[in-house]
């Protein structure tokens, strides 16, 4: 009789050990992350402290059996030292962070008015406008980036149009410039900025802005004194969602950016596939992860304060 009630029995077993059903629900995603995030991370970490060799796999094992049960553990930090020595790496790190930061600011400047407009539009329009923001996700990311090539290239849509109108005689070189790369990144990541901002602005109580105006505060000033601080959580969330993936962005700089767009994602690719130096490539990946963990932690802390500050 117990067979059909397997789940029920499982629950009873869990409860008998002092756990609630909630534990089970949260345990599943945690196990998933453990399996597919932590395990690969540890593998990459392991490769990053090993030495390169021309073989398959292209790195030496950490643990070697010498003889008679003696085990040798070889951990090398040379790869990390190499990252510091060769200016290529820290320059590309810096370049990635600068590019991501500029893209994030551009997304914020474009996304905030958008989110504000959507949140303050008539409820009937709101869902339609939100749908339009999310619509690009229905097309493949790669396809959308290729579409930009068609728009920006020398005999692309923009240049052809401008030349047909007689505004320019020679095509403007846009493709494979930083300009094209920023357009691609801002275009691709804008929805990740707009959605959390929308949620934050939509929650904002309009009577607070009325109160500010009533107390003698002009609208522009009220925006910076009331709206921005109260939508801070959305601003931070949006910035993180844009900044973090933009730092490691590989496809857009490769397709739209110029040859000098030295992004860390590209360096990583070259180390792995062109130089086949897995240990250095792993060290690059780990260093990038650590570089990104810091802003995530800042974000987490501010979220915690938000939760503590506004019940």
């Amino acid at each position: 009789m117990s067979k059909p009630f397997l789940l029920g029995e499982l629950m009873a077993w869990i409860r008998a050990r002092g756990y609630s059903g909630r534990t089970l629900v949260t345990a599943v995603p945690y196990l998933w992350l453990l399996l597919f995030f932590l395990a690969p991370f540890l593998i990459v970490l392991k490769i990053s402290v090993s030495e390169m060799q021309l073989a398959m796999p292209p790195y030496q094992p950490l643990v070697t059996w010498i003889s008679d049960g003696v085990v040798a553990l070889r951990i090398s930090f040379e790869n990390y030292a190499f990252l510091l020595k060769d200016s290529l790496y820290w320059k590309s790190y810096l370049n990635s962070i600068t590019t991501a930061a500029i893209s994030t600011v551009a997304c914020l400047l474009i996304g905030y008015p958008m989110a504000y407009g959507i949140a303050r539009s008539a409820p009937a329009w709101r869902n339609l406008l939100l749908l339009l923001v999310m619509l690009p996700f229905w097309t493949s990311f790669l396809l959308r980036v290729y579409a930009w090539i068609g728009i920006l290239k020398n005999n692309g849509v923009i240049n052809n149009l401008l030349m047909a109108l007689g505004i320019i005689d020679e095509p403007i070189v846009m493709l494979q410039t930083n300009f094209a790369m920023y357009i691609g990144i801002v275009y691709s990541y804008l929805p990740f900025m707009v959605l959390p901002l929308y949620t934050a602005v939509e929650k904002l109580d309009n009577s607070l802005l009325e109160a500010a105006a009533d107390l003698g505060c002009r609208p522009v000033k009220a925006f910076f004194l009331i709206t921005v601080p109260l939508t801070k959580a959305g601003i931070i969330a949006g910035c993180m969602l844009v900044f973090i993936p933009a730092v490691g962005e590989f496809v857009i700089p490769a397709l739209l950016g110029g040859p000098d767009a030295l992004m860390i994602g590209r360096v990583l690719w070259e180390e792995f596939f062109n130089n086949r130096d897995w240990p250095v490539a792993s060290a690059v990946a780990i260093a990038m992860l650590l570089l990104l963990v810091v802003p995530i932690m800042i974000y987490q802390r501010s979220q915690g304060q938000q939760l503590g500050g506004h019940p």
């Binding site: 607070l208 009325e210 105006a213 009533d214 107390l215 003698g216 009331i226 500050g309």
Partner: protein
């Protein structure tokens, strides 16, 4: 129920030469086809507490929001202290408002919330501190200056909101349902506190409320609103004792309303025969109505005397009935008495004797109801 405010002794609205402090001229506000406020003209005098009283959708809040500057009137004019502010934005008006939700800035401490308005006026830091401290003392919130709004109780938030609106020393303070979010005990207490603060600072108040008791306690005058119009303006006792229409009589307090026909019309009294009552009202005031016209007589439940024995005197202003319901309220009891016509009459009697003492009126008792000829009010609309 009506308070005796010192201001009531000098009633500026009765003085034709008095300058109104706030003047609303033919104000109309339309939202599409819907007329929220319909041709309202109103004078409010310095130091008044003027209550706009009405049900939901009566236009009272829209009227208040037009005074604050959040809504532009479709037609009409608003003058404050002789200055036309009809088209001035809210941040340029010498008016502050206390919001129903209090609208305290959640990311600022009590101190910063109150200082916000002063900082907008570029008041010096020293003076800001002094004035914030002064107003915090007035609302007795000194020890909470560093708290954040979410760390305060509803009553404390209400005081902070009041302090924030008052600290700028506005010419006019608008209060939108100031006490609605408080529980009953706290509300009563806060009402008297509001009165004290208003007297101390001498600020003119306009209060919007749907709570007639609140309006009665606070107001020097009440404007009763219905369907976007002000149907009657008067002191609380005027409104209660001399309602001008069936709507006002019904809206303020409870009332027994009887349809009738004027059978005798003299300058100092009228007699109204009512089939619903099964008797004749003798009303001690003259009425300007056509003879034989249908009128309504309003009679407050507390003005009726309930006795077992037939009262002495003539045939008017008395009726016999059977007690259908008794509701014991502690300080008073409410009786529903079924008359011969089938209509029920609501009667309240103070419980001057303790329950159990004396001869108590019970269900199904046959009783006599009578009242003085000064009690009933005839309304013609």
């Amino acid at each position: 129920m009506a308070s005796s405010r010192p201001d009531q002794k000098n009633e500026p609205w009765k003085d034709p030469g008095a300058q109104p402090y706030v003047r609303l001229e033919k104000l109309t506000k339309k939202f599409g086809d819907f007329v929220a406020v319909d041709d309202v003209s109103l004078n409010i005098y310095r130091n008044e507490i003027f209550c706009l009283l009405g049900g939901s959708g009566s236009g009272k809040t829209t009227l208040l929001r037009m005074m604050a500057g959040f809504e532009r009137p479709t037609e009409g004019k608003i003058c404050i202290d002789g200055v036309d502010v009809t088209n001035a934005p809210p941040y340029e008006r010498p008016i502050n408002m206390m919001f129903q939700s209090y609208a305290l800035f959640p990311h600022m401490s009590v101190q910063k919330n109150i200082a916000f308005g002063l900082k907008q006026d570029k008041v010096g830091a020293r003076e800001v501190d002094d004035r914030v401290a002064e107003i915090l003392k007035l609302v007795r919130m000194e020890q909470f200056a560093k708290r954040m709004p979410h760390q305060l109780s509803g009553g404390q938030r209400q005081r902070v909101a009041l302090a924030r609106a008052l600290v700028k020393r506005p010419k006019l303070l608008l209060l939108d349902e100031p006490l609605a979010a408080l529980d009953r005990k706290l509300r009563e207490h806060t009402q008297f506190e509001l009165l004290n603060i208003q007297e101390t600072l001498g600020v003119t108040f306009v209060v919007v409320t749907h709570d007639q008791e609140e309006a009665m306690t606070l107001a020097t005058r009440i404007g009763v609103m219905n369907h976007g119009e002000i149907v009657q303006i008067g002191t609380p006792s005027d409104i209660y004792e001399y309602p001008g229409s069936r709507f006002v009589a019904d809206f303020i307090g409870s009332v027994n309303m009887f349809e009738g026909r004027i059978v005798e019309d003299e300058p100092d009294y009228v007699r109204v025969a009512s089939k619903e009552l099964g008797a004749t009202f003798h009303v001690g005031h003259g009425v300007s109505a056509a003879p034989d016209a249908t009128v309504w007589v309003a009679l407050r439940p507390e003005k009726i005397v309930l006795t077992r024995a037939r009262p002495e005197g003539g045939e008017d202003n008395r009726v016999e009935g059977i007690v259908a319901e008794v509701a014991y309220r502690g300080d008073q009891s409410i009786y529903l008495v079924t008359l011969g016509s089938g209509r029920q009459m609501r009667v309240t009697q103070p419980n001057t004797l303790r329950q159990g003492a004396g001869d108590r009126v019970r269900w199904d008792d046959r009783v006599w109801l009578s009242w003085d000829s000064s009690s009933p009010v005839v309304v013609t609309q």
